[in-house]
Amino acid sequence: MNKHFFLAIALAALLAVSQAAAQEKDVGPAKDDKLVYAELAKAPEKARSKHNPLENDSDSVAAGRILFARHCAECHGETAEGGKKAPSLRAAEVQNAEPGAIFWILTNGVVRRGMPVWSKLPEPQRWQLVTFLKSLGVSSASPVAPAPNQVPTALKEPSSPPR
């Protein structure tokens, strides 16, 4: 009786995990990228028009770089050009998006497509991430060529050792 009970629980868990994994597999990377980028367009007008209060903050690019390495690079790649799990953030779709739209995606995530909500990061840190991402510019691998003032120097700077 006990063995059957635990076996049933274990099987249910295995089935559920397999189902979730299978669902993830069904979505191909290219298709998934477009769907994730499409989420940017879903940002409400009010969120889109939000001004980045740290746009001109001198420390925000450096702070955002550290935050990116800690929270985002695992999925989006160390150079933000995309990884196995998540699309490039240096694509034109992201780089040409309003800061408010990127902030909205960070806050809400794309939960059904694997991106968690990042509202656990305080609002100033999310804006620091937006400032950093916008400093990268469009990747040369992207169909849209980068503007001369969009060289991603932010990624090249070495990070400081812990104090």
Binding site: V17, A21, G64, N108, R112, P116, V117, K120, Q125, P162
Partner: protein, 296 residues
């Protein structure tokens, strides 16, 4: 060597390797021990956590209980967790008290002012369990007086449901949990609650990586206790606790937590000291898949 032992060795080796080699990933962990907020584990990440409680006991021996958690982000909307529990009662013995399997689901796609999370847990434990992971029903301090040898004879299978409501506003997190638990033997539904509030000591991140930056520390308070059962709902003969909490999120992926808890009435333990250490292993699902050939 049996295949089960070989499998256990492989999993242990993998966990050790992952812990040593996993890429840097720094979670902004909340400091709560009892209350839950609405943030789930990032998909594919495994967090290994060890928690410990020292508790005082009037009329009996003080105790040290402990549990290990394996928390895995299955998807961005589902986190599953396995707990292994034990305790040492001073001048008595050390016993393994059981396991728990917990699941948390995020039903809504977007962030709202109040965010609900659905929580379902199955517990298979014995009567010597002292981890005090929540307050429920009419659990009181005197329940812990039974010697381990006798208490562990009682087998408890319990299903626990929680509605977690959590909100983040101007850097503050406010969490409210309502709990309903049912012993699968013929016992009534029992109820409990937990509240939590916390905030990082600084909201902006520093421009240099650092261990002691204020944004790495999250401080707050939590309060929790029982609300009786279906036949006798309310505060009568229930225990309640108030506990300041502090978490230190280190850039090296480790999180340390500490919380002194204080009983608020005569049914509660006078003092509980909780502490914990955890480490997040990013990309664990992918590594596990590669090892067993599940995914390319």
């Amino acid at each position: 060597m049996s295949s089960l032992v070989r499998l256990a060795i492989r999993v242990f080796a993998l966990l050790s390797l992952c812990t040593a080699l996993s890429p840097s990933l720094h979670s902004q962990e909340r400091p709560y021990f009892v209350a839950y907020d609405h943030y789930l584990e990032e998909p594919g990440n495994l967090e290994i956590e060890y928690f410990s409680i020292f508790g005082t006991q009037r009329g009996g021996n003080n105790f040290h209980s402990f549990w290990t958690e394996f928390e895995y982000g299955v998807t961005a909307w589902w986190t599953t967790e396995l707990y292994l529990d034990g305790q040492t009662t001073f001048h008595d013995s050390t016993v393994f008290t059981g396991f728990r399997w917990e699941n948390r689901f995020r039903p809504l796609k977007h962030e709202h002012f109040i965010n609900p999370i659905l929580y379902v847990e199955f517990e298979n434990k014995n009567g010597a369990d002292k981890i005090l992971k929540e307050g429920e029903g009419r659990d009181v301090e005197a329940d812990f007086l039974t010697p381990n040898a006798e208490a562990r004879q009682e087998h408890i299978r319990e299903v626990e449901l929680k509605l977690i409501l959590s909100s983040t506003f101007k850097g503050w997190n406010f969490a409210q949990n309502t709990l309903a638990a049912k012993n699968l033997s013929n016992s009534p539904w029992e109820f409990g609650y937990a509240f939590g509030a916390s905030r990082p000591l600084a909201l902006k991140a520093s421009a240099k990586a650092c261990n002691f930056c204020r944004e790495n520390f999250v401080a707050g308070v939590e309060m929790y206790g029982g609300l009786g059962d279906r036949h006798n709902f309310g505060l009568h003969e229930t225990s309640h606790y108030f506990a300041p909490v502090l978490a230190w999120n280190l850039p090296s992926d480790w999180t340390l937590r500490i919380s002194p808890g204080f009983g608020l009435n005569d049914n509660s333990h006078r003092f509980l000291l909780r502490w914990g250490v955890s480490r997040e292993i990013s990309g664990f699902g992918r590594m596990l898949g590669s090892l067993f050939g599940i995914r390319p």
